[in-house]
Amino acid sequence: MIAALADAATAAIGPARTGALTQIGYLARRSVARTVRQPAMIVPSLAFPLFLLAVNSSGLAAATSLPGFPTDSYLTFALGLTFMQGALFATMGAGQSIAQDIQQGFFNRLQLTPLRGPALIVGQLAGVVVLGAVQALTFLLVGLAFGAELEAGLAGALVMLGLSILVAIGFGSLGLALGLRTGNGEAVQGAFPLMFVLLFLSSMALPRDLIENDWFQTVATWNPVSYLIEGFRSLLITGWDGEALALAFGFAFAILALGLWAATATLRTRTERT
């Protein structure tokens, strides 16, 4: 009865416009629920980077004796990379999630509501934020438990958490663009090796000034991923390094801007609705 009255009112004043913030809230809630209910998405994103951390820190420990190596704990050095790897999983997670929505028709369901495009993008990234935060906390706690140093202290840990989430959202929005473009989960997965190339051609294993091969050093210098890793690393090894942090956050924001632009553009192409 009340619903009927409300509907009569709605019919009289026209369909209520749903606020973008309300929509973001509903979509974010769904995105987080989807993420935490898929152990198959969470477990590898934690286990794989930690596995690589274990292998690297034991196998490459000898590198610390190189003249000019910034720390005598390779575990501390390698931990920066672990944070960066988390972002790769964010890319895949966000991309596959939207691709699944398109394949299963859920995307059409949302299209048929008064959905606002930006709300979809922001809402979809909520799951990535949660995943990024869980990853960052886990990596930091495991690293510290095994004797990694954290020169910047508790405040540094918070900054690392913030940078992790920012990087996850940035790469997540790139993944979203890829998922929207292809509408195909397998195609999104196909980008995984590409992300690894980006990671390997960075300062992931050695500080840039200790890379002897010229072309490698040049590529690593041009690769923004180097600066993201070095941002994490600076808080672990050096303490508060303004330049490293400025570069890391600068590139993180630039990637986020690029990702959001790409996601918005692909969403517009994907959305043919009138």
Binding site: A3, D7, I102, L112, T269, T274
Partner: protein
């Protein structure tokens, strides 16, 4: 015709609607139709006929290549948001998130439509109960049966009390029980709430039982339109099929029956004739056969079905037409519907 109807119009008016896909034929090739408020319109045709493409255009998901359509008084191209506000849609895929429960789906759908939280909750619970999913409301949809998914899909389409409901092959793949339950609910919506229903189907029975008017579509064109009764009456005359006791009598039987109408396709060892005058002639048929001394093993009279209408208009049978076509053009055209 109420093509100029206001926002309160619950009908659908379509003129010369065309949709072409890249590298493909015209999936929809100039369709005209009109659906009156409160009517159940059955859009009947085989796989690949263009049914889903039409629904996608009428629900604003796909822009038409040419032609125009007004849904609930709003133009689907220039006033998409108003159309979406007035319609509820259950597409072919039963688009659900396997990781969410029925209640979570309801909450999201109500929220996206802008219903206040408390009202959305009440409406959601009411709909979940109406489609018989109360006991499963907290379970994740991934574990639902096909019938349960379809029911939830229908309930979701009704959250914002739409005036027009689009159902794209709502019962394909459902068991008889689920199908009947869905038919009852759709019939109730139309009868009690005055909801206009546009329903696509490849099942003759569904169109016959449920629709007050049927449009038959084949290869992107409407080949016949009218109430099921009128369409069948147009084909008109029933067919009589007879089988002699002795197979050697088959030719004599054929000769006798040919006096009553033209011969039609029949099973082996049988004769089929479309009666010239209708059912009243049946008694004379029996008398004539008796007078010739032909023993009758079996004698059946078939009222014309929508399949006969389809056969008369296209030269093919509808039943099984889609099953012979593994390519499934409709699905292929849907994949192309959105540029990859």
């Amino acid at each position: 015709m109420s093509a100029n109807g206001g926002a309160s119009d619950n009908g659908i008016e379509v003129e010369g609607l065309v949709r072409e896909f890249k590298k493909g034929p015209r999936a929809v090739d100039g369709i005209d139709l009109s659906v009156a408020p409160g009517e159940i319109y059955g859009f009947l045709g085989p796989n690949g006929a263009g049914k889903s493409t039409t629904v996608h255009m009428l629900t604003t998901l796909l822009p038409p290549t040419a032609g125009s359509a007004r849904v609930a008084g709003h133009d689907v191209v220039t006033d998409g948001a108003a159309v979406r506000g007035a319609i509820g849609v259950a597409l072919q895929e039963a688009a659900l998130d396997p990781f969410l429960s029925a209640r979570e789906h309801m909450r999201l759908q109500a929220g996206m439509h802008g219903l206040p939280r408390e009202q959305g909750r009440r409406r959601g619970d009411e709909l979940i109960e109406r489609v018989g999913l109360s006991d499963a409301a907290e379970r994740r949809v991934g574990g639902y049966s096909g019938g349960m998914k379809r029911r939830l899909d229908l309930a979701l389409a009704l959250v914002h009390e739409p005036r027009i409901l689009f159902l794209d092959e709502p019962t394909t793949g459902l068991d008889v029980q689920s199908r009947t339950a869905l038919w009852n609910e759709v019939a109730r919506l139309s009868a009690e709430e005055g909801t206009t229903v546009f329903l696509t189907t490849q099942y003759l029975e569904e169109a016959d039982v449920l629709a007050s008017r049927v449009g038959i579509i084949d290869i992107g064109r409407i080949v016949a339109e009218g109430s099921p009764e009128a369409l069948k009456a147009e084909i008109g005359r029933p067919t009589v099929e007879a089988e002699p006791v002795e197979e050697s009598d088959l030719e004599r039987m054929r000769a006798v029956l040919s006096r009553f109408g033209e011969a039609g396709p029949a099973a082996r060892g049988q004769v089929a004739v479309r009666l010239g005058e209708g059912t009243a002639e049946l008694a004379e048929v029996v008398r004539a056969l008796d007078a010739e001394g032909i023993g009758v093993q079996n004698l059946e009279i078939h009222a014309p079905s929508l399949d006969d209408v389809f056969l008369a208009k296209t030269g093919r049978r509808l039943e099984g037409a889609g099953d012979d076509d593994p390519a499934d053009e409709e699905a292929a055209s849907e994949r192309e519907a959105v540029p990859a």
